[in-house]
């Protein structure tokens, strides 16, 4: 049972780490701010989600798990807002560079 849980954790966290890497690759390779913004907010948030998922079984009790989920929800919320705000700001500034 324990081994199964650990394997789940390892798989989820590894997948999360891969998404973080993908996000960074996107930041490096994408040509303009809009697309970079996508790479940043989408990929990284998914990566964090997977890491939180992987850590859930390791969490100490219900409160700990709840906090982990709350962290993820909050980052989602922040990511969505920031993407909106930055996109707005970019559009106000004129054509993307």
């Amino acid at each position: 049972m324990n081994v199964a849980i650990d394997i789940f954790t390892i798989v989820a966290i590894s997948a999360g780490a891969v998404f973080f890497m993908a996000g960074t690759v996107g930041l490096l390779r994408f040509p303009d701010s809009f697309t970079r913004l996508h790479a940043l907010t989408k990929a990284d948030n998914l990566g964090l989600g997977l890491i939180v998922l992987g850590l859930l079984p390791q969490a100490s009790g219900l409160l700990g798990a709840l906090k982990l989920v709350a962290v993820w929800v909050l980052v989602q919320l922040a990511g969505a807002t920031v993407a909106q705000l930055i996109a707005h700001a970019l559009r106000r500034k004129g054509p993307p560079t």
């Binding site: 966290i13 973080f20 930041l27 701010s33 940043l40 922040a78 807002t81 705000l85």
Partner: protein, 90 residues
Amino acid sequence: MTEFLLAAAGFVLLTVAVGLLRVLGGPGNVDRTMAAQLLGTGGIAALLLVAAATGVRGAEDVALGLALLAAFAAVALTNSAAPPEGRDPE
């Protein structure tokens, strides 16, 4: 398990560091603001992993605090960049 979690934290931190180099270079202020967002997400992930590995109590609360404030830099920028009426018209 501990080693794995730490390695994962190190990996995430590394990707964040590389991304940070990219966004801090600009070209514009808006791009740079993404640095805060990048660290907000990646830093929280690394923090959670490190905390799980080293068994530091209360680290989730730090992550919660960081998550609550994750949008602040971008909000502060867009808020000051758009000059509302009544402030110095710069």
